[in-house]
């Protein structure tokens, strides 16, 4: 099931629609998110940073589980968090503060693992590269920086390197509105859009500007075509521009260099764009509160969802398994027992790493089933330690019962294996006989002919 999740800067909740059928799902309540402030953490739950009064000393980040419309977990980081991002497995959540700092939390424990000063002004967007090894941040001061997550945890390599980041691109003159990363981790291209009316294409491997596309209007959002042939840029003038990446672009057209075309049905500014995971669908949100689904090839509107009165400023496309019985991690159980819900604890406000920095290292998580992807599941040793402790504390009775059950299972499976073995042998014999007889028959035929 492919879901479209949308939120707005004005409290209209989080809208949720099935992309295939167009049916509206649960509407999660009380959410006023800034742009890029909505994120789906590992497919397990939705998290969103909240717009608050500038006077408020702390920001807020809220969690919703898929099954309940109410806010389940509230956390209050030290300052207002605007953009929020999570890696694909949902191990980490990264938030960008209005002072230009970036916060990195571990989801399962809620620990603030790292906080560092990244930009001169507020961070406006945060994106992980496709292999989750790099974090790309854009800021109000026009800077785009690329951080290697490995390096942020390696104090030695930070000391060695001349800069704490991998690349810093400062060619934008105004606030960066959106950044998207292409495929290929460190060799990928990234595209950034800014209030200076340009989109710039950068190469991560070379660390330099590849292309500068000047648009007729401010670009609020960009979406990358899966083949990286073109990218779509949603403008403040209500048009969605198609700009060439590897596609051929004609030099004399009405919009400018590298811009192939534009389509529009928005009376108002396009505020966010997303690309569907299945089907060639482009999803756009607009200032008037509508979410439109376009066929990316024909540029026709396929569906429209009415979200809210205010501008839609976040759209996510989530592929969801049946969330009612999604698999529960052992550690999730642990935390849920503590909080009475299926969600992890709130994010910590400060980095209280005083307790045992020494044993703080990443551990590859235990893979619960083999059917899942082979991606490693990183957790801090701290969490694993807790988990082991809790396992040990669990009474022996339960363990005993579990063992009995497993023994029974084992016996049953052994029987089954035996059964299958005999069945296979019979079948084999039968086949061999058949073949031999067939040969003989064929030989007879040949002789008779």
């Amino acid at each position: 099931m492919e879901l479209v999740v949308a939120s707005s800067s004005i409290d209209g909740g989080i809208g949720c629609w099935n992309l295939q059928t167009g049916a509206e799902q649960l509407r999660y309540k009380s959410c006023a998110s800034p742009p890029h402030g909505l994120v789906c953490v590992g497919g397990r739950f939705i998290a969103s940073s909240q717009l608050r009064d500038t006077s408020a000393s702390s920001g807020s980040v809220l969690y919703w589980s898929w099954s309940k419309p109410q806010v389940e977990v509230k956390s209050f980081p030290a300052e207002q968090i605007k953009p929020l991002a999570a890696n694909r497995e949902g191990t980490y959540v990264v938030g960008g503060g209005s002072s230009g700092s970036i916060y990195l939390w571990e989801v399962v424990s809620g620990r603030l693992l790292k906080k560092w000063h990244a930009h001169y002004r507020a961070v406006t967007c945060l994106v992980f590269s496709d292999d989750d090894s790099l974090l790309i941040s854009g800021s109000e001061d026009g800077g785009v920086k690329v951080w290697s997550l490995l390096m942020t945890f390696d104090a030695y390599s930070i000391q060695q390197a001349s800069t704490p980041y991998m690349h810093s691109f400062s060619e934008h003159t105004l606030c960066v509105t959106d950044v998207v990363a292409g495929y290929g981790s460190v060799n990928a291209i990234i595209v950034s859009a800014s209030h200076d009316r340009t989109c710039k294409v950068w190469s991560l491997s070379k660390g330099k500007l590849l292309r500068n596309v000047v648009f007729p209007s401010i670009i609020n959002a960009i979406a990358l075509d899966p083949g990286e042939r073109v990218f779509y840029a949603g403008g403040r003038d209500g048009k969605i521009y198609v700009a060439a990446l590897s596609a051929e672009s004609t030099f004399n057209n009405s919009y400018g260099l590298h811009i192939i075309g534009a389509f529009s049905n928005h009376s108002n500014a396009v505020t966010c764009l997303a690309y569907g995971t299945t089907g060639n669908l482009l999803i756009s949100g607009s200032e008037d509160g509508m979410v439109r689904v376009w066929d990316a090839r024909t540029h026709n509107i396929v569906r429209m969802f009415k979200h809210a009165k205010g501008p839609v400023n976040n759209i996510l496309v989530v592929r969801q398994q049946f969330y009612n019985n999604f698999h529960i991690n052992p550690n999730m159980q642990v935390s849920s027992r503590r909080h009475g819900s299926l969600l992890p604890p709130p994010l910590e406000k400060y980095d209280n790493s005083t307790d045992g920095d020494a044993d703080f290292k990443a551990v590859i998580g235990l893979q619960p089933t083999c059917s899942e992807s082979m991606d490693a599941f990183y957790q801090s040793s701290h969490v694993i330690n807790n988990q082991i402790k809790e396992l040990q504390q669990q009474g022996s009775a339960a363990a005993e019962m579990e063992r009995e059950r497993l023994k029974l299972d084992c016996k049953r499976f052994m029987q089954m294996v035996q059964q299958w073995k005999t069945m296979y042998e019979n079948l084999h014999e039968f086949c061999v006989n058949e073949l031999l007889e067939g040969d003989q028959a064929g030989g007879c035929n040949g002789n008779s002919a």
Binding site: H195, R197, R236, A269
Partner: protein, 878 residues
């Protein structure tokens, strides 16, 4: 024979007439009359060709008719004069037939190169001229490798020639090659440097011939200056080519020079001591002469520059190596050498600093010493990257830098000033590093001098630009150097002073120096981006606003607006200036006012006006403009923008050049969409309602009214939220507005369709209002009725056209589907208008001409038919 004949004649004559002629001894006899002239006279016969057999028509020949082949043969003639003439001939030939060269390039070069080591001075000089003016420029784009290697063998041969003259000339040739094929130096660096070393070792032989030595040395400087010496420069070169190429393309192959570096380094090691000793030899000559002569000065300068360049290169290579691999095999060796070379330089060379003139009174000499001292300083400062210099020496140099900045050293003459500027340019890049390293007292003194010079120097000079980029380094925080720690209070004062200078500089630069303005604006932008770091920096940045006003508008008293440089700058600079606005923590109304006046300037590029609106909107969104200021900016723009030509409404597509109506329309739509995004629609509407109405009632031109009505309807919703009072005001106003629109637009009736579309643009906002408030429509209809009535107000002067206008407004309303429906519910009002028209027709008070009467009649019948039509339609629908 002649005399004997004469004597026989005499005898004969004697015989005939016996006249005796006395001849004196020693006198010459007159020639006899019949003497045969035996003199042989000859004239030179010039044969254009030597052999009759060779047919030269169609071949390229020079003035003397020699072909290239013959000329080339003559270049190896044993007579020097012939060789020289042959070279001149070749030059002449190739000038007239450039194609010859491209055909026989290698043949020519193979022959010519033999002359590089020629014994005769004139021949070499001619060859040099030939290569320089003809051969090299023509062979620029060809395969350079072979060409150079052909030449180089002979150049090297000449470099080891016995005669000093030939040797020096060979360096000159090499210099020429390098000028045209810069890459060739890297191919032959080792050998060339070796040769330089050899020749400089024997300097005592030709210290007399300084002119030649100077040429050779300047060649060395040129070669060394090609070595990369600065990481930033290399990077910036690479960055520049981010052009229009295909996105995922292979890099074009660039020959890498770094492979040759490992050979160059040891050669430079050997060369440095030689250079230093050579310099030392010059010192006594320089000081014994009463005035410092030009040639030895040039030589000394070249030597110092070579030393400087080789040190810079060495620093570059070592830092590169450091980046690449920590433990490279040559690492230890390199550090050893570093030690030795620095101590050597410190002891031998830098102790000579500062060179002081013996004779105090020569101005030129002063400037020369200043020049040399600057290069000394450069060398020293480069060395400082490696070592911590002894304090005494450091103080000497710092003292020099300070007095250079204060302008104490150079003579006051114009040339002196020029030299001073040129050399300060070289010193400025070191200031940031020095400031961050030296002790507090010196830091203070340096900054003081720096700031003073910055404020004093001519804004249009390149020195000012260099100052700006140095300031950028000290203002904008970077990874390697942090200046903005709060403890550096003394630095902060200077920073604030520099920031204050920026807007003044912008205004001084005006629109004459667009590139300089751009650099300053760029710095301003960067400053804005990082200004949040430090509150006092923020304060400094915000304070620029007062001064910046003059950048937009110089003065605006009593309606006479004097625009600042902003209006006339190029578009990219204008954009930069606008981007700076985004970073002020609070944009002040006064600055906004100046900007709005700029927007109203008729010369402004419309694209920039749109951009201003966009950026101000972004700034507002970021919370840095107060809502009241933002609204008043928009309203000012809408109400005071003058559309020209005012009252002609030609085809929209045609009018882009002549009229700016199209521009105003797009401004209106941009303003409308910004207003929508300002915040809660209802609140913004509440704020705007009264302001807009107050402006509308003042009766500005139609276009402005239309724009403001459009803003009103964008923010309004159905049903209307206009207050009762404003509806009444609007009711009175709109009737006149509608009549004016029709009056202005439909002057001629032949192009009807265009006019109706033009009218529609003005009517649409009214129709929206009518749709949302039927009361308003009712009011307007009543107003119409009262205008038409016999004692109508101002429109009574020309009743027929007024009637015509009202009727066409009503027709328009009927054509519109929604308004048509609404209007049919106000039948009695329309009827009363009709009644009034009839009354007008029959009235005695107003006299109408026949034509007017006809017009009124026509209008009336049109109206009647439309009304009947709608009624019929109604009946059918019932």
């Amino acid at each position: 024979m002649a005399p004997s004949k004469a004597s026989s004649k005499k005898q004969q004559k004697r015989g005939i007439d016996f006249k005796k002629i006395k001849r004196k001894i020693g006198r010459k006899l007159p020639p006899p009359n019949n003497a045969t002239n035996t003199e042989i006279k000859s004239k030179a016969i010039i044969l254009p060709e030597q052999s009759v057999a060779t047919e030269k028509t169609g071949l390229a020949v020079n003035k003397k008719g020699l072909t290239l082949k013959e000329l080339l043969q003559q270049t190896s003639h044993h007579n020097a004069k012939v060789r020289k003439d042959a070279l001149l001939g070749i030059k002449d030939l190739l000038h007239t037939y450039p194609a010859e060269l491209s055909l026989h390039k290698y043949a020519v070069i193979e022959k010519l190169r033999e002359r590089i080591g020629d014994d005769d001075k004139l021949v070499r000089e001619t060859l040099y001229q030939l290569l320089k003016s003809v051969v090299f420029p023509a062979c620029k784009e060809d395969n350079q490798g072979i060409f150079i290697s052909l030449l180089m063998t002979y150049i090297f041969k000449a470099m080891t020639h016995l005669a000093i003259d030939v040797r020096l000339m060979a360096f000159k040739f090499f210099d020429l090659v390098v000028q045209h094929y810069p890459h060739s130096f890297f191919l032959y660096a080792e050998k060339v440097l070796q040769n330089y070393e050899d020749i400089l070792r024997k300097n005592q032989h030709y210290l007399q011939d300084k002119g030649k030595l100077k040429i050779a040395l300047s060649g060395l400087v040129r070669c060394l200056s090609m070595l990369p010496c600065n990481q930033e420069e290399v990077d910036s070169c690479e960055k520049k080519d981010a052009g229009q190429r295909v996105l995922h393309a292979f890099e074009t192959e660039v020959p890498t020079e770094s492979s040759g570096f490992s050979i160059i380094i040891p050669k430079l090691k050997d060369l440095l001591p030689v250079l230093v000793s050579c310099f030392q030899e010059f010192i006594p000559t320089a000081q014994t002469f009463p005035s410092f002569d030009g040639q030895s000065f040039d030589c000394m300068l070249c030597i110092l520059q070579s030393i400087d360049l080789s040190i810079r290169f060495y620093i570059y290579v070592t830092s590169e190596n450091k980046q690449e691999s920590q433990a490279s095999h040559g690492g230890l060796d390199a550090t050893m050498w570093t030690e030795t070379i620095t101590t050597f330089l410190l002891k031998k060379l830098l102790v000579m600093f500062p060179l002081n003139p013996v004779n105090q009174f020569s101005e030129k000499g002063d400037d020369r010493y200043f020049t040399l001292n600057t290069v000394f300083t450069e060398i020293f400062l480069h060395l400082c990257e490696w070592i911590c210099p002894p304090d005494v020496l450091l103080e000497r140099f710092l003292d020099f830098i300070e007095s250079a900045l204060l302008g104490k050293i150079c003579s006051g003459t114009r040339s002196g000033k020029a030299i001073e500027e040129k050399h300060l340019l070289l010193l400025l890049p070191f200031i940031p590093k020095l400031v961050s390293q030296v002790a507090t007292e010196w830091k203070f003194r340096l900054l003081q001098a720096f700031t003073k010079k910055f404020e004093d120097c001519n804004p249009e000079s390149s020195l000012k630009l260099a100052f700006v980029s140095t300031i950028e380094k000290m203002l904008i925080p970077r990874e390697d150097m942090l200046y903005l720690d709060a403890s550096a209070l003394d630095l902060l004062d200077h920073q604030i002073a520099w920031i204050r200078q920026l807007p003044l500089l912008l205004i001084q630069l005006g629109d004459k120096h667009p590139s300089s303005s751009q650099v300053v604006l760029h710095l301003q932008l960067k400053l804005g981006q990082c200004s949040l770091l430090n509150p006092s920096l923020m304060w400094g940045y915000d304070n620029m606003q007062h001064l910046l006003q003059k950048f937009y508008i110089i003065c605006s008293d009593d309606g006479n607006i004097c625009y600042g440089p902003f209006v006339r700058l190029a578009r990219d600079s204008q954009e930069l200036a606008l981007c700076c606005l985004y970073y002020f923590s609070y944009l002040e109304p006064l600055l906004l006012k100046s900007i709005s006046l700029c927007c109203l300037c008729p010369d402004m590029d419309p694209l920039i006006v749109y951009r201003i609106l966009e950026i101000l909107h972004s700034t507002y969104k970021a919370g840095r403009i107060q809502i009241a200021d933002c609204i008043s900016f928009f309203i000012t723009l809408l109400s005071r923008f003058r559309v020209f030509p005012e009252n002609s409404y030609p085809d929209e597509n045609r009018d882009a050049k002549i009229s700016n109506r199209g521009i105003f329309k797009s401004i209106t739509s941009i303003v409308c969409s910004s207003m929508l995004q300002m915040g809660d629609k209802n609140l913004v509407f509440r704020i705007l309602e009264n302001i807009l109405l107050a402006q509308i009632v003042l009766k500005p031109p139609l276009d402005n009214v239309c724009a403001m009505l459009r803003v009103l309807i964008t923010l309004d919703s159905t049903p209307t939220r206009l207050s009762q009072q404003s509806i009444t005001t609007l009711g009175n106003f709109l009737s006149e507005y509608l009549i004016d629109v029709v009056g202005c637009i439909s002057k001629d009736e032949d192009t009807d369709s265009i006019h109706s579309s033009a009218c529609r643009y003005y009517f649409i906002p009214c129709f929206f209002l009518f749709d949302r408030s039927h009361v308003l429509l009712n009011l307007v209809l009543r107003m119409f009725a009262s205008i038409v009535s016999c004692n109508g107000g101002q429109y009574a002067t020309n009743p027929s056209s007024t009637v015509g206008a009202i009727v066409s407004v009503l027709l328009f309303m009927h054509k519109d589907v929604r308004i048509g429906q609404i209007i049919s519910s106000f039948k009695e009002d329309v009827d009363s208008i009709l009644q009034n028209i009839i009354c007008l027709q029959s009235s005695e008070e107003i006299s109408l001409t026949l034509e007017e009467r006809h017009k009124v009649q026509c209008a009336m019948s049109q109206l009647e038919s439309v009304i009947c039509g709608t009624e019929k339609g109604k009946k059918v629908s019932f």
